[in-house]
């Protein structure tokens, strides 16, 4: 039986969509129509179309391939120097603005800084390859404990015909360290998503298989894929897996070490959280090294317990026993969190719009707290993400892909959720309208939200957002 939410029907959603899109110019209407729909939980494939070009001028929240590469995949790797290759802006804006926390000594062993070639006119005219070569040498000299250097191309680099791959190849030989090109110019593809893919390809072509673990392997070696340690998520997730008896050999890429990432082909199983951004590499490792992979969900106790059992089922009884012990150990604590917050949140509704995973993966955590999701959508998901979404959502709920600000406002206005969970660009729009909001990319400067410890923080934050007394001040008495 699929879920239902009182007052939410397919007819209502369809009507809302039609009325909203009717206000757009005809051509835009036609282009937008396939990207919005009412959820059909039983349908084999989600009817909402995705991963297409953003319509010019509608105000999309999407970023670019470079953002997907620098911000998502490469940036979190702590022991590399990540070079934003091109003009000044891209690297400046993505410096420290994703909250992918890392261990290490800043500037000595970890490099969450902004390294850039700060292109000038002459670099555009004469090309930047020479500069890049010199730059890589300088970076290695000044940051000698780096374990590698990634070169992330910004828009101009691909347009002026530079060959960064030749430069990185040469410098890798010279330095004896991993020097990795990533042709993630912002104009490629339609969103951050292609940046993830291109980065995965770079890891495939230039990183993985180049190292081996010193210590002997064990049947319990796994890698944590697609957890970016936002607000410390990895540090909340990894201990659970370790308590289950698994050896987490590498984390991709949150608080990641490139040398370990390069040896990941030796693990026995890949556990993938953010499917959207890293499924490519899981598939490559499966094909090339026969490593199976499994998706899991560490948001909220229901999904966490399900996931722990799903993972444990792939191992022997000793792991399965420990898995049950882990669930038994943490469930009372999680229940206490629910007992505390659920009475304050029961019956509330929320609408989501996030990147490529959370619009479906966090649904269970909200439901654990008694909150129903009346609409959800992704900035840069693909068909396989939407297919995975339908079953999580109630019948008739709104599904919107790459929603424009214009539409999102209308949808929220009509469905009147008690909370919107989306990004920084949306946050203040809705807060001005008096609607509680949490940033769901950055955990709104909080976190972690993964695992059992994360759930407690998540519950506190959602309660805080919805029940803050400040909302009562919005309407003045005069």
């Amino acid at each position: 039986m699929s879920k239902t939410i009182e007052g939410i029907t397919t007819e209502r959603s369809e009507k809302l969509i039609t009325e909203t899109l009717n206000e757009m110019p005809e051509k835009a209407q036609k282009k937008r129509r396939p990207h919005v729909g009412a959820n059909e939980p039983e349908a084999e494939t989600c009817a909402v179309k995705s991963n297409r070009k953003t319509i010019p001028g509608v105000m999309s929240a999407r970023g670019c391939a470079y953002a997907g590469a620098k911000g998502v995949v490469w940036g979190p790797i702590r022991d590399m120097v990540h070079v934003s290759h091109g003009p000044i802006g891209c690297g400046f804006y993505s410096w420290g603005t994703r909250r992918n926390l890392v261990q290490g000594v800043p500037g000595v062993t970890s490099f969450a800084m902004d390294f850039t070639s700060d292109f000038q006119e002459r670099d555009i005219v004469y090309g930047g390859d020479k500069k890049l070569e010199k730059l890589i040498g300088e970076a290695d000299q000044l940051f000698p404990l780096n374990h590698g250097i990634s070169v992330l191309s910004e828009c101009p680099v691909g347009l002026i015909g530079d060959d960064i791959n030749a430069v990185t190849k040469k410098m890798e030989q010279e330095l004896g360290k991993l020097v990795v090109p990533c042709n993630c110019e912002g104009f490629r593809g339609v969103s951050q998503s292609l940046g993830h893919h291109i980065s995965n390809d770079s890891i495939r072509d230039f990183v993985i298989g180049k190292r081996e673990f010193e210590e002997p392997s064990s049947p319990y070696d796994v890698a944590l894929i697609g957890d970016y340690n936002i607000g410390g998520d990895v540090w909340a997730a990894k201990p659970i897996l370790e308590e289950m008896g698994l050896n987490v050999k590498a984390t991709w890429t949150g608080d990641g070490a490139i040398e370990e990432i390069a040896a990941t082909h030796q693990v026995k199983l890949n556990l993938i959280h953010c499917y959207r951004s890293m499924n490519y590499m899981c598939k490559v490792m499966e094909e090339k090294w026969g490593i199976p992979w499994v998706e899991y969900n560490f948001f909220g106790p229901t999904k966490i317990a399900e996931s722990i059992r799903k993972i444990a089922a792939l191992f022997d009884e000793s792991i399965q026993e420990k898995a049950e012990a882990v669930i038994a150990k943490y469930t009372p604590g999680a229940q206490a969190v629910i007992d505390r917050y659920r009475p304050r949140l029961e019956g509330k509704t929320a609408m989501l719009f996030v990147g490529g995973l959370r619009p479906r993966h966090t649904v269970g955590a909200y439901e654990d707290l008694g909150i129903q999701i009346t609409g959800t959508g992704y900035e840069f998901a693909h068909q396989d993400d939407y297919d995975r979404t339908s079953a999580e959502m109630a019948k008739g709920t709104l599904i919107y892909d790459d929603v424009s600000e214009f539409e999102f406002e209308r949808y929220v206005e009509e469905l009147k959720p008690d909370l919107v969970g989306s990004g920084i660009k949306e946050k203040y729009v809705f807060q001005k309208a008096g609607i509680p909001f949490r940033q769901m990319h950055s955990w709104d400067y909080s976190g972690p939200y993964h695992g059992y410890t994360g759930f407690e923080i998540f519950a506190r934050d959602i309660d805080m957002a919805i029940n803050s007394p400040t909302w009562k001040l919005v309407k003045s008495p005069f």
Binding site: E23, A28, C64, G89, F92, M113, F115, K134, A139, E214
Partner: protein
Amino acid sequence: MTENAVKKVYRTTPEEVDKVRKWILTEDYKEKNFAREALVVNPAHACQPLGAEMVAHGFKDTLPFVHGSQGCASYFRSTFNRHFREPAPTVADAMTEDGAVFGGQNNLFEGLENAYTLYKPKMMAVFTTCMPEVIGDDLTAFIRNAKSAGHVPEDFPLPYANTPSFNGTHINGYDSMLKSILEYLTEGKKKDGAPKESLNLIPGFDGNTANYREYKRILEAFGIPYTLMADISDSFDSVCDGTYRLYPGGTPLEDAADSINAKATISLQKYSTIQTMRMVKDTFAGSAEVMPMPIGIKNTDAFLMKLSELFGKPIPEELKAERGRAVDAMTDGHQYVHGKKFAVYGDPDYLLGLVSFMLEMGMIPWHVLCSRSNRKFEKEMKALLETSEFGTGCNVWINRDLWHLHSLLATDPVDGIIGDTHGKYLARDHKIPLFRVGFPIIDRINLHRTPLIGYNGAVNLLSMIANKFLDIVDDTSDDQWFEMMR
């Protein structure tokens, strides 16, 4: 490749960490760091279109329109969102790979039409990202074509600026966009006869909304009719009353159009308004004046005296009293900051204002750093430092970044840092406070709501700095040195 060729996973040893940790604080490291020719590490400047976008938000009912990659637009918007904690509605025409091949005209057409219909602006201010600049899109022709093809009405205002990021910084983008908007709006609006008793005030690139409000208050105290250009005070400090407004503030377009007839135009930021002021001088009816940002007493005095002189009005009693109170605060509080050394970084005009204030206070601006500027600025800053004994021996660093500053703070230390949020790692590494001034400030709340210009601004700056040093004394003193009064 044989199996043996695969290396083992390398993990850094504690000895190596210890060694490098010490090394990066040495003269030897500094020398190598300063020998860098290609690599920029932790710059303190953003790219041109961000400045252009700030200008666009500063005009009423105006939608910023990014011609180029949507990713850039998302970066500009989120930077403003984080700094002001406010919406920053902006559209992009989302050029992609085919745009790179065929140019972005079709994207611009479609984008203008959609944005015009959905967001009902009265003006769209168009500026560019790197991509169309590299492929050489001809904006002039594109915009003409967009109008003649009917994507927006012929008479719809579409000022545009080329803002290539590989040339200059956000302050140059600010300049180009402002020039373009004013040129566009004032065209054909010059009236015969004597100029109007009115002032155009251009604050320059400033992420402090309270400064804009302070400028308005000062002009109102004088009773001088004014137009504050690119006024972001209500756009980026808007009310929360249950209604989201797309265009909550900004300079009224009619006022901007009529600005050509004003008696005078004052720019309070020389380096971020070079082109604009050249245009004003050439085409506006009134005089064009460029003054330093009124940070500190002397610069504020100069600003007020200029207003008085231009409009024949006495300095209002209210402002005279404010000056007196500010000076009172400075004489009372000098002992807490006198002789303390600072590193200060940011945009050229802000730096000139801050340094002027510091010299007045007896503070020492030991390292003054601007990560992208020119010899002219360097000369001007040096000349300013020479006006005071507290400037003696101080260093001006242009085209150096915050990692250079890291070396400087290790080898030639100071007591505090003044700059935007990006300096927080320096502050932590060198165990000195960071005083957050500039753009962006993304880790503290409401700082843009405290003015730093004018007499009140001087008091605010002083309080922020002095009280922090007092906190440090209280937080770090041993019991025997801990006392009630400070």
